[in-house]
Symmetry: C2
Subunit: 335 residues, 2 copies
């Protein structure tokens, strides 16, 4: 592949001029520029990325780590990230951590090696290898979190009000007349689950129904929905409504309901979380909390670009709007 030297030689100019044609064309006179461009087209020249990157100390890449790319919620967020990044001239390095710390650290090392200008992590844990960087550079560290806000995290983030959203779900169910409610959470290590659980508990207390709550811990997968919701349904004093912390688990719960010969929403109301594309196409259409997934993606990129450009000097925690979408899977309990 042709180098800048080849182009310079063939066009009868210096490498500096060729470089300027690309990065500061207004400094080059039109005739020279055209002569250079003609040679560029003819040789199929593209500036070598590594050389450029070494000189400028920039990669124009954003590393995005995600606990599970095959989860439709995350893949929608990533779509938003990719879109906003590309629009700003950045490309996306993807890391699927599979919820494994070792992989998180592996990607953190990549970031330290400067393989990317910034890091967006959609998990809940800041890799150890980056702790010193955050400690020394503070709010100017080009690291942003998506979805999993935690006060002590010391990086900017974009997310919804998980606690408030979960409380709204409970208000909706209590409003319909449900008293015994089952909840299938995700792993409580992550704020995404613990915040929602707080919202659930405070709403229950407000209604004096805390003792009628049944909490079961899932892992956001369909299978865990089947299992955990199944256990709740098999208890004495079966809940009349189940709230799952993800649509996928709700999908599993729906299956558990059907398997027991029960019907949703006649026997059991069901609420999910996220509003992935499939939620509105289930039978019954699923009541859920809609998260602005692509917008979260846009927003984390915006936060990161602010840091990279030196605009941001303080931490920002952006709360984006969510919406309780009431569909056919919730109804008053049977009398």
């Amino acid at each position: 592949m042709a180098t800048i030297q080849d182009v310079a030689r063939a066009a009868g100019v210096s490498t500096a001029t060729v470089s300027r044609v690309f990065s500061a064309p207004e400094l080059v006179i039109e005739t020279t520029r055209q002569r250079v461009m003609a040679v560029v087209a003819q040789l199929g020249y593209e500036p070598n990325f590594a050389a450029k990157s070494l000189r400028t100390l920039r990669t124009e890449k954003i590393l995005v780590t995600v606990p599970d790319i095959s989860n439709p919620f995350f893949s929608q967020v990533i779509r938003g990230v990719e879109e906003a990044a590309l629009a700003a001239g950045y490309s996306v390095l993807l890391g699927d951590t599979r919820h494994e710390e070792a992989r998180e650290e592996q990607y953190a090392a990549m970031f330290r090696r400067k393989e990317a200008d910034g890091l967006i992590f959609l998990g809940h844990r800041l890799p150890e290898a980056l702790a010193d960087m955050v400690a020394s550079k503070g709010a100017r560290t080009p690291i942003v979190n998506g979805c999993e806000f935690r006060p002590g995290l010391a990086v900017s983030s974009a997310h919804i009000d998980n606690e408030g959203a979960a409380a709204e779900v409970m208000e909706h169910l209590y409003g319909l007349g449900h008293a015994r409610i089952g909840v299938v959470t995700g792993p409580l290590a992550s704020p995404i689950s613990s915040d929602r659980l707080s919202g659930v508990l405070s709403a229950a207390q407000r209604h004096g129904r805390a003792s009628a709550l049944r909490i079961s811990i899932g892992d956001f997968s369909i299978e865990s929905g089947v299992r955990q919701a199944g256990e709740l349904l098999d208890e004495l004093g079966r809940p009349t409504a189940i709230f799952c912390f993800s649509d996928e688990m709700a999908m599993g719960a729906l299956e558990a309901i059907r398997r027991r010969g029960l019907s949703c929403p006649k026997d059991v109301s069901l609420v999910g979380f996220d509003d992935i594309r499939f939620a509105r196409h289930l039978d019954p259409q699923l009541t859920t909390v809609s998260q602005p997934m692509e917008e979260i993606g846009h927003e984390v990129v915006r936060l990161l670009l602010d840091i990279l450009s030196g605009r941001a000097t303080t931490l920002q925690n952006v709360t984006l709007p969510h919406e309780l979408v009431v569909r056919a899977s919730t109804a008053p309990p049977a009398v």
Copy 2:
């Protein structure tokens, strides 16, 4: 961030020795190695990636372009790619082309700039910007296709036998006694759809049922499933079975069936394609063709690594096994 010079100075050795500690430790005597490593740990040194890449002309990155990352089929394939790549010491640069040629070309330019050692594309179109590279380097071009095999493509690929799989689906339906069958394809520009359609047509001809086929062209989305299947259901002489070229469209078709007060499989049998995670959790559980998505991901990476290592000298087109998974959504037609 510390450079190799800083480490060399602090450890009282040359930069060559520091470099060797990382890339050829057996050449460095143990005591020296430990002294260097101590300094490395203390300074938190990581080799700068751009410098290394410039010198070695390798990036240890694979660029993967995909028509739609939020499609669960593709996100599973990507998962497989990411896994195999990481195991081989490569990381994944993700490009979501959104079915737009302009974005495909944009990512092709990235590849030309050597931002990645290899390219895996899951769409059906080889970007124009890469045609000359394929033409001049032939089978040694580090470009591989996934899923969309087409004889003239001139790059290696991994995929299933789409034509055979579609024919099997039709045999299954004819075997159950269906005569009037509706088919919802994807865009026919891609081999993935046109090959399946060939399979459908040849099976129909074998059974003398070609004239009873109804073909409708969708775009793989849920919404197009609702729409195209809906149109088929509204025709005179309603089909007793519908075969959709993706599970998502089948999900839409299921909705169209229900909206008309019909029942699956009693009134209409339904078959999807891909066997995404959701397929077995729908009601009724969906009959579909299972594709080994993660394995396709592994395989395209293997093909690419073969090229990068110089092992591969001829094109390889790998056909991976698929499987017709018969579940509850198909049954004999009502009499």
